[in-house]
């Protein structure tokens, strides 16, 4: 059994992160849950991560807010 840690832990986490950075794509460290980089789109995030020399294996890329805080089908 493999237990995956969710990097986005709650609605409160999403709100906090989006309030600080804005909506968009985030690279979040799998272990610590810290934000490694942010970009309005995936291309901008890519540039940020390469500039910061972030190890891609240690992060998961997520779009926040996840459910975009609206009703979805």
């Amino acid at each position: 059994m493999i237990m995956e840690k969710q990097v986005i832990t709650s609605y409160a986490y999403q709100k906090r992160v989006v309030k600080r950075y804005g909506e968009g794509f985030f690279a979040i460290y799998k272990k610590a849950g810290r934000v490694a980089g942010w970009g309005e789109d995936i291309k901008k995030l890519w540039v940020v991560l390469e500039e910061k020399n972030v190890d891609f294996k240690k992060v998961v890329i997520a779009r926040l807010p996840t459910g975009r805080w609206r009703y979805q089908t």
Binding site: Q6, I42, T66, T73
Partner: protein, 154 residues
Amino acid sequence: MILKKWLLPVYRRVVGATKHKYPFVFEELKGLGEVFIPLVNVGLWFESEKEYLDFQFIVDTGATASILPSFIAGQLSFNLKDLPEVEMAGVEGTGIKSWLAKIKMRLDDWEFEAPCFFVDNPNVPFLLGRAGVLDPEFSLLVDSRKKELLLKEN
């Protein structure tokens, strides 16, 4: 390939299939309160990097196949002009231009290929759909008692 076809089922029968557990993540919606989002981490193969990068997907049993925004196609080394163009419809009924491709995915160390739609809408969420993923690769259990999502390798 031989390993996957013959040895793996035998191994599974003896040792048991690998299960991937994901705790529920909740969002708060007006009028509904807290609603869970079925999030899973899926690796996408980046040809340019020669490795899998993990993305957070929403499991969507209503989606025919997995869905990605079209701007990511280039980074996955796909040229949209070379892919078959199809029309995809959501609940609102209006069709949206999309392109069909087969992409390499990974869930932990379990690698597989699945069809995927690149949708011409930058705001589309990353969705993990049915074709090639929920059938035949994984079985899905939404365990609302334990508040977790369970994906079991078939």
